[in-house]
Point group: C2
């Protein structure tokens, strides 16, 4: 596990030292795949996932015995502007629901035997309202990133990354607008279910926040500090630590994707160890995945957050690894190859 | 379990007595769903699947503790025309591979704890070459349907339906052309990997077979007899028996879909207890799912058959049932509703 970083400067410096792909492991996976008892390519993306897992775990065969799902929860000053269908108190209530095992992600983690970790991040102290001020100080942002890094511990072999935070699709939209430009409407959607005048208000908030903080001197980490939130910063840390620790990552929906985009905007190779678990119906997510060059694994009309889509996609990684490792070769099974 | 039918007439007669949806169970599912701790609709298709499972199991809450994956294997006279990249001997070799646990479907069944059953159907005796003659006699076809029915036993709560049979994408294409019309090229694809002149030859075979057998007097069961194969007839039986036994069905790829299409062409409501587990890259499958009005659950570029896509999709049904049954309500969890 990387040492908790003390400043944004140190975290920026880490970006110059990202481990690259283990091409030897990836090649070994491709070679074995070609001998397994099926027509070449017949398992489609499962074959790609097996090679990708090998490449980023840096070993062949890849393994997936200890997946972890992480949910970072935080509150946002901007939620006071009525940008969500739910009151901010729901963040803490849902954290309690996670602890009690009553949320969707609990059932999904139980089903696929993923280790669920929920991280409460100062729920009683929302970040500053991004329309008026930067969300976090430098120290707060760096601390949140370092906190997120601690979610990656030895022995984990895949990480599903998600969040909970009333108001955070507003923050994510503002961050995407800051990072990639466009119009507020491109990135702003209903979130938990805001429509009509509420959605118009949400768009105006996103536009105002991005206009205030998107300055020529603001690099992606500075935009994260100004427009993001504690859970987004923690997700940045978790994704970064996973890269350092050779742990492949499954990204959840729009908010997790917006956090990941901070790394992508800094270095497009920084997300090569990540897959998009699903595409959410939050409209900005489709656009964001296009920007990140990620094809989602699942498209099930979900928009819940709390790492639910990413956790479900862990099943596909498990399937890929199970087929790759467990199938017989043509020679072992005595099956004739193509004639 | 329905009694094995003795004739195609008796099977046709069954079609008039298909159990309908249990709307009470479906309504109970929709009601509970609206109280669970998430924004309404936020689990997308998982919510639809939970209600669909309740509707077709005829109980609320739905359960999925004993899924079964069935793979019917058979050989085809038409395979002698070189329509596959693999020799017909591979069908029996792959059945042995299933028995030994070395195929993709073995790993997938193990991962999601599905009961795998493999049914060898006279592998040493291929059906007649459909270019020259009907594939099966009336008695053979009826027996194969009845055999497939026996795969549905008490206690099973979902059924993934698939097949193995060198040459059977040719047969499936001919059957689709017989049932729905169009051009041979609309329904004929590479299968295990036939391209170029081989694919042209495969299209010509499909066109010739359909031209021979598609007569105005041939109803869908008669087209199954003339253009199908033993494993397709068995899948028809399994799907039908599942309907009678209140067991929701997950269809695998193009060949399983072609078998299901026989029932659909007889009565469009006959597949309401079925979902499409995935869409295969076999090009006819997309067209077929459109005809059947089925939106696939997964789109992973798979084209293996052997119920691999359907088995993988069972995970989504399990997830849907787990979330529906296990999540806390807003009242139970003390979570505020939309404000």
């Amino acid at each position: 596990m990387p040492e908790p970083a003390a400043s944004l400067e140190e975290i920026r410096a880490l970006m110059a030292h990202l481990p690259g792909p283990d091409l030897e492991a990836g090649t070994a996976a491709a070679l074995r795949e070609s001998h397994l008892t099926k027509p070449a390519g017949a398992l489609g993306r499962l074959e790609e996932l097996a090679a990708w897992m090998a490449t980023w775990q840096g070993r062949h065969p890849p393994r997936l015995e200890h997946p972890r799902t992480v949910v970072f929860a935080a509150n946002h000053g901007v939620a006071a502007r009525g940008v969500s269908a739910y009151p901010p108190s729901v963040t803490a209530q849902m954290v309690q629901n996670f602890i009690n095992g009553g949320a969707a992600v609990n059932q999904l983690c139980q089903m696929i035997d993923a280790d669920l970790r929920v991280y409460e991040m100062n729920l009683e102290t929302p970040t500053a309202d991004i329309v008026d001020a930067p969300a976090m100080s430098e120290a707060e942002c760096a601390r949140a990133i370092a906190y997120g890094m601690m979610a990656v511990e030895p022995g984990i072999d895949a990480l599903a990354v998600g969040e909970m935070g009333i108001g955070n699709t507003t923050v994510a939209a503002a961050l995407c607008l800051g990072l990639f430009g466009g119009e507020a409407a491109d990135w702003t959607g209903p979130g938990t279910g805001v429509t009509g005048a509420g959605l118009e208000q949400k768009r105006a908030v996103v536009a105002a926040a991005a206009a205030r903080h998107r300055t020529p001197d603001a690099d992606p980490f500075e935009l994260l500090r100004r427009l993001g939130g504690l859970e987004l910063a923690a997700m940045v840390g978790a994704i970064l630590a996973a890269r350092m620790g050779h742990v492949p990552v499954v990204l959840d929906g729009f908010v997790a994707g917006a956090a990941a985009a901070v790394l992508y905007a800094t270095d497009p190779r920084a997300l090569d160890h990540c897959v998009a678990g699903h595409v959410s119906v939050e409209p900005g997510h489709t656009r964001l995945l296009e920007r990140l060059g990620k094809r989602p694994l699942l498209d099930l009309g979900m928009r819940l957050g709390e790492a639910s889509g990413a956790t479900l996609a862990l099943v596909l990684l498990k399937s890929a690894v199970a087929c790759h490792g467990g199938m017989a070769t043509f020679a072992e099974a005595g099956v004739s190859g193509p004639g």
